[in-house]
Subunit: 352 residues, 2 copies
């Protein structure tokens, strides 16, 4: 019996070891080449850091499916699930492809939201300029497809993998479009909000979880179950992000606590509160994160606790994680699968 703290520590270590390898693979898959400024801008956010949670999910799922000891096999030469040949698959290329998609969406999202900072550094359109940022995102977009082709999977599986990548990108755009349109609306329901974060955030976790099954040749039932795992834990991750914005001290969060409230950003919490009759627009009067006080945020959080909205969000995230973990039953019972359970728990138990 391990403590939650020990399990969180184990997850962070496991993520960290895979992150190191992903960080090595990124410049290999996406070298700075001519025109240098374009590729430097494309790499800027990728090089600025990131937890690499999605690549970690992908690599760990590959290990669970292949039933191998975690970190014991070269991700660049991963054994095919079928016995009929000695072919290997470069699952690391798949992991980098997913991270590259994530980075492309961050660059374009920061332009759309006019956010100045990302991962502690200026957003790409601030460090460079609007033109370069649009083009850097566009370059990463096609590079993600090129990198997926580097996995060396058989043609029929590659077609499926590329289709998942394309439909995932389309859904992310649809989710972002819904998110933007929600800003103009005062009547978004919790169901609509959950649909939006499924498209905007969770589908890329779903792709990360099911792509190794596709590339390594797992059956359809396994692919579908893993897609569901990613969809569930991805939504839980986003909901937890919204909770943390209210509950974690500003210094630990790296930005003003309650900034979502100040900026009138809708979250599962505020959408639920409005459904309970709370005047959400009135929760915080100050309109800039620079001027808001901790006392104002405390008062707002007290109202959202009173309406049960924070507990509703926590409960929804917990339910999603429990369901996501159930879906992993199709995967062999091994250490890597245990890690996938722990990653799911970590996504909602993490402090920031």
């Amino acid at each position: 019996m391990t403590t939650p703290e020990a399990r969180e520590q184990a997850v962070l270590e496991a993520v960290g070891k895979r992150r190191e390898q992903v960080n090595e693979a990124i410049p290999e898959e996406l070298p700075i080449q001519r025109p240098e400024r374009l590729y430097e801008a494309s790499r800027y956010l990728l090089d600025a850091g990131g937890k690499r949670l999605r690549p970690t999910v992908l690599l760990t799922t590959a290990e669970a499916l292949a039933d191998v000891e975690p970190l014991s096999v070269d991700y660049r030469e991963f054994p095919d699930l079928g016995d009929e040949n000695d072919d290997t698959i470069d699952v690391m290329a798949g992991a980098v492809s997913v991270e590259v998609i994530q980075s492309f969406t961050l660059i374009h999202d920061d332009i759309m939201d006019d956010d100045d900072l990302r991962r502690g550094v200026p957003a790409v359109h601030k460090e460079y300029d609007l033109e370069t940022a649009i083009l850097a995102g566009d370059t990463l977009y096609s590079k993600a497809f090129e990198i997926m082709l580097e996995t060396g999977a058989p043609a029929d599986r590659l077609v499926d993998a590329l289709e998942i990548l394309a439909t995932t990108c389309t859904k992310i755009c649809e989710g972002q479009s819904l998110d933007v349109s929600f800003e103009q609306r005062g009547d978004v329901t919790t169901d609509e909000y959950l649909e939006m974060i499924e498209q905007k955030t969770a589908v890329l976790y779903a792709a990360a979880a099911c792509l190794p099954a596709v590339l390594l040749g797992a059956d359809d039932e396994t692919i579908e179950a893993l897609y569901g795992y990613g969809l569930d834990v991805g939504r839980a991750f986003q909901i937890q992000d919204d909770v943390l914005d209210l509950t974690v001290p500003s210094e630990q969060l790296g930005k003003q606590r309650g900034s979502d409230l100040v900026e009138n950003k809708q979250t599962l919490i505020t959408v639920h509160a409005r459904e309970q009759g709370v005047d959400v627009a009135d929760l915080v009067d100050t309109t800039t994160v620079e001027n808001v006080t901790e006392a104002e945020i405390d008062d707002a959080v007290a109202v959202l606790e009173e309406s049960g909205s924070i507990e509703y969000a926590n409960g929804t995230a917990r339910d999603l994680v429990a369901r996501g973990k159930d879906r992993l039953e199709v995967v062999p019972d091994n250490e890597a699968r245990d890690l996938l359970f722990d990653i799911a728990d970590y996504l909602i138990e993490r402090g920031y």
Copy 2:
């Protein structure tokens, strides 16, 4: 022996007949769906018109390869080149995919160049807004891959087709990046300029020409030759565009003649003139297209004629078209191939 006018008329008719079918296929492949505003913005430029030259090249190349009479076979159920089966390929989906890529690049380019008008209607970021325009382009990007998957080609060919699509998009981004960087430089050479338009413009013609060969199962030699045809005529097309900007009356051009000179946009003509010692920045003093006079443009054109720069551009375009046509020798001698010859000629003989 037909006259040039009769041949141009024949090309326009042939393009027109394929355009009608492409225009029917676009809403089938890209229906307006939820979120409606996103898909309406994505379809906005596609619905505003366009010659559909790239889809026409793709469809006509398919007919030449299959050695069938032009317009005699349903593009949605096109016969495979191999005899071993009755499988058919939806080459129309391939044609729409290429046009969708073209439309995505136009939407993002208009943002980068801050152009207000396109095809006689407001640019997408003017008709909608910056956020929607970025997102509409991103949506078309992934949709192009999804639509290519609709061709129903065997997996190995589909992988090749998707790889061509991805590398083409990467090159277009690299070309656009070079184009932007050239604006800051006064020492661009004709070779650099030709490399830039190869990446920015010609690669999509090359993709359009070789994709039917890939999808229908032609051999590598044919695929490569057709790629070269597209690369040559695509560059000729762009050079001719630059020539027309100087030589066609404003009313026929649909915009101020000589606008490239007014806006100090580099073209093969100005790059060549500078190599001949012409002070290109001094050619037109007026800095806005609203205030420039026809006399000023006439004087500038006279200087560029004197330096041999317009003839140099014309000659380069003619050479490229001649070389592109030579490459078609690998294709069966038939009516569709004749049309590919005529399209090549049309690209540099067209009046606007």
